[in-house]
């Protein structure tokens, strides 16, 4: 796919590629210049430098010397960066050098049109790339907060921001002390233990009840199906604070408030919609003639369920279970009200830490949680594909 060339590449006129490269250089120069003290100087130097490089690379050296020129630009930027800003400067220089080396040729030889149909106007091409840049920016917005937490959790200081030592890649600036704190602090350990005690119990409850009900709901004739579905999905829709308030009032009445059982029940009911949704989704594509075939061959309903139906809906059940687990594991509002100090879970401890800003141990915990979510996401994704394969759909 990527090798298809829809529009021929050719050398662009001198004025175009020098101007574009100079503009890009000026744009980068704003930031570098500002960081060094003068934006104006940065713009001028950036524009001149990039314009000259573009002229040199495209007009003088040409396509044949591309590899050498790009390495040269990379080395030049890296060296410049290192002289200006030490180790961080070197990294920035390498990035800039790689980018501009590629950019000059991409613009200069019309490569940006290679994968586009030939009849597009320049405006359309510009929009095409602008749109991609916008999307890229949104993806950056989505992912940056999660990425930023990770290096900060290795901070040697008790700060919530990058220290100069960290930016210099000085080993002194990094440490595992927040992780050590997490592993040795009684509060955190108790919270972890509580989370580990509550989430699986809640998951088992919601998966047990939820799977049965989902099977019931996917039968062909269910009276009041819509109303029942609305009730079963409602824990996901009703704002958590309202569920929490109601449960707090009601569970205090019947003596469940502040007990382990109360928190487990509350979390189980919050996880149920996820189980219902994932399991019914697997059952939608379920071929009913399979159970009939099994019955035809003499299997009783129990055998049919365990040997035919169960293996087929298993991926749905497991991903429902993971959803239910993560719901309970991440939940904080309900446990805040329904639980007491004895049921303080990991998110609760984090919430206290954030509100009173006590220690960056939160960041270490956050990193661990992100790693866990990556693991869960991978499992769910694999299960989804497996389920689609089992049901004879193409993965996609």
């Amino acid at each position: 796919m990527s090798d298809i060339v829809l529009t021929d590449t050719f050398k662009k006129p001198l004025g175009f590629h020098v101007a574009v490269a100079a503009a890009a250089g000026a744009f980068a120069g704003i930031f570098i210049g500002a960081a060094q003290g003068s934006s104006l100087l940065g713009i001028v130097v950036g524009a001149l430098l990039m314009g000259a490089l573009s002229f040199l690379a495209i007009e003088v050296l040409g396509r044949s010397a591309e590899k050498a020129v790009r390495w040269g630009i990379l080395a030049m930027f890296a060296l410049g960066g290192f002289l200006f800003g030490g180790l961080p400067g070197l990294v920035m220089g390498l990035l800039f050098g790689w980018f501009f080396g590629w950019f000059i040729y991409w613009i200069g030889f019309n490569r940006y049109r290679a994968k586009l149909v030939p009849y597009l106007t320049s405006g359309q091409v510009l929009w095409y790339y602008a749109f991609r840049v916008i999307c890229g920016a949104i993806f950056v917005f989505l992912i940056t907060p999660i990425i930023v937490v990770m290096p900060l959790s290795f901070n040697a200081e008790d700060f919530f921001t990058f220290t100069p030592e960290m930016l210099r890649f000085d080993p002194e600036g990094y440490s595992l002390k927040h992780y050590r704190d997490f592993l040795t602090n009684d509060d955190w350990q108790q919270a972890l233990w509580n989370s580990v005690r509550i989430a699986p119990a809640a998951t088992i409850l919601s998966v047990g009840f939820g799977t049965l009900a989902a099977i019931g709901l996917s039968q062909p004739h269910v009276p009041f199906r819509r109303a029942i579905m609305a009730i079963l999905i409602s824990p996901m829709i009703v704002p958590l604070i309202i569920s929490a308030a109601g449960m707090y009032f009601f569970y205090s009445r019947i003596g469940l408030q502040g007990t382990y059982m109360g928190v487990v029940l509350a979390h189980a009911v919050l996880g149920i919609p996820f189980v219902i949704i994932t399991v019914t989704a697997t059952l939608v594509g379920f071929d009913r003639s399979l159970t009939r075939a099994a019955a035809n061959m003499g299997a009783d309903p129990v055998t049919t369920f365990f040997r035919v139906q169960m293996p087929l809906i298993m991926p749905g059940v497991i991903s429902g279970a993971l959803f239910a687990f993560i719901t309970s594991f991440d939940e904080v509002v309900v446990v805040l009200f329904v639980g007491s100090a004895g049921q303080k879970t990991l998110p609760w401890q984090m919430f206290i830490g954030l509100r009173e800003q006590i220690s960056p141990t939160i960041l270490a915990v956050a990193t661990i949680l992100v790693v866990i979510s990556i693991g869960l996401l991978t499992v769910v994704e694999m299960l989804r594909r497996r389920s689609e394969r089992l049901r004879g759909m193409s993965p996609g």
């Binding site: 919530f160 921001t161 009703v238 949680l369």
Partner: protein, 585 residues
Amino acid sequence: MTDATHDTTARGKPGPMLAADGTPLKRSLARALRMQKIRALLLIAPLLLFVLVTFIAPIADMLFRSVENDIVANTLPDTVEELASWDGASGETPSEAVYQALYFDLFIAAEAKEHTKLGTRLNYEQTGISSLFRSTGRNLDDLGKDYQKTLKKIDKSWDDGAFWYALMSGEGGEEVLESHRLQYMQLIGQSPRSIISRVWCVIRGIFYKACPTALEDIDLNFTPSAEAAQMLPATVAAYSDFAVFTVLADGDVVAEEDPWEAVYAAFAQDLNTSGTVDKIQSYSGPGQAELLAVTENLADLPAPDFKTTFLDIDKDWGKIENWQTIKIYSPKYTSGYFLNSVDLMKTPEGIDARPENQRIYLKLFKRTLFMSLVITGSCILLGYPVAWILANLPARKANLLMILVLLPFWTSLLVRTSAWKIMLQQQGVINDTLVWLGLVADGNRLVMINNQFGTIVAMTHILLPFMILPMYSVMQTIPPTYLRAAKSLGATNWTAFWRVYFLQTVPGIGAGSILVFILSIGYYITPEIVGGTTGTFISNRIAYHISSSLNWGLAAALGTILLGVVLLLYWAYDRIVGIDNVKLG
């Protein structure tokens, strides 16, 4: 259905078609269908029951609490009854009978320490009542103490618990006692055990441990005498209160305890009622001699003046507003919490707006709606391009980019909120970067947290996947050929997009918007952490009323309004998208 076959022997002959076992096919099919329905319902029943008990019942309880207001009637039952005939708009304080009822109601309430709760409750409506109740509760003993001293002087036996017990005990007064037991149970907020809870207690007794004996089943070891009740009604009533409290609250024996001061005040009240002296003179029973001795010294026992007593304790008892508040909030159910939630209040003249400085909830509701709309809007703006590019890229690349959407979706809410706190704060990553780039002066760092901006940015990030996923699933089904067809028919890029593509994505936008709006309108954690004071939602106020101000009724009313809005949207979502079509990932 599978066992129903055509009855071949019946073919060609008139009459119903028969199944293999000889029953008419129609009935056989109906039975099979019924069996199927029952089986489906049996599979669903456990979960439905579970959700009803652990989730729907709490919600119903919250709805109930938003109108429930029995604390006034439970704490001051007789006062409320007497107050019914008082005209709040008359400008006069209530009659002596009201103050008298208040004295005895408040006496037992103060002993049970329930009067402060009532004070707190009424304080939500009228500032100052809380301290009024508190101070009054401390000083109610004085009135009875004076009578106690005088009586002791007349005869030593009046200071003796056993003597009182003998005087009050007898037969036929069960009704009086039981009505006071019920009043006491209401006072401490307990109702008689229902049949359901009795059954539950039996089950619990078998598997875990037995329930404590129900208050209504405890033997008080005291029966008021009907004769004494006829002669000294107020005294027997006060003594019954005392007896109930002694056994149920203190766990003591009535006969061994000296009666409390209210009994003496009631006794003085009875003595000064016309006809009592005659009844005493014709009385023959325990304590006859002592009673006769008292009638001879009646001059030393003037009738208690309850109104003056209360005004002496606190002159605020003469304030009409306080009495108006008690009267307005005496019914068992009130719309007061709801009125409060929309910045109105009850006055004797009807419903009125709250003073300017107390109007916060409408503002808060408006802010919640406004910010939820802004968040939904920014989610649409940011989500649309991403969903488009995911739906139009080749599958391999799209799957890779999809991870960038799903990872935040799977990451703990608190992790994302803390990440935004770190990024947005004044010494945070964004400000540091801007300062390093020289775009912002070091002394002039941007304030991006603890305000609306912080809440909007963080919540947009958190809810964005909920917008992208439904949009993506709709866009995936739109064939790219439509756009090309539109263009080849002469449409400009914009027309082709707007009139052909965009219209087809509207269901996705609708689904995502309702989902995001529902989720954001009830958000609590993120506004609490990054919202400061100006970026908080109605949920934060609800949480505040539950855990800090303890005004549960108001919290429930605010919650009910919020729930109403959400359910309305939920219904709309169901109509537009269908709940079955919710997809996760």
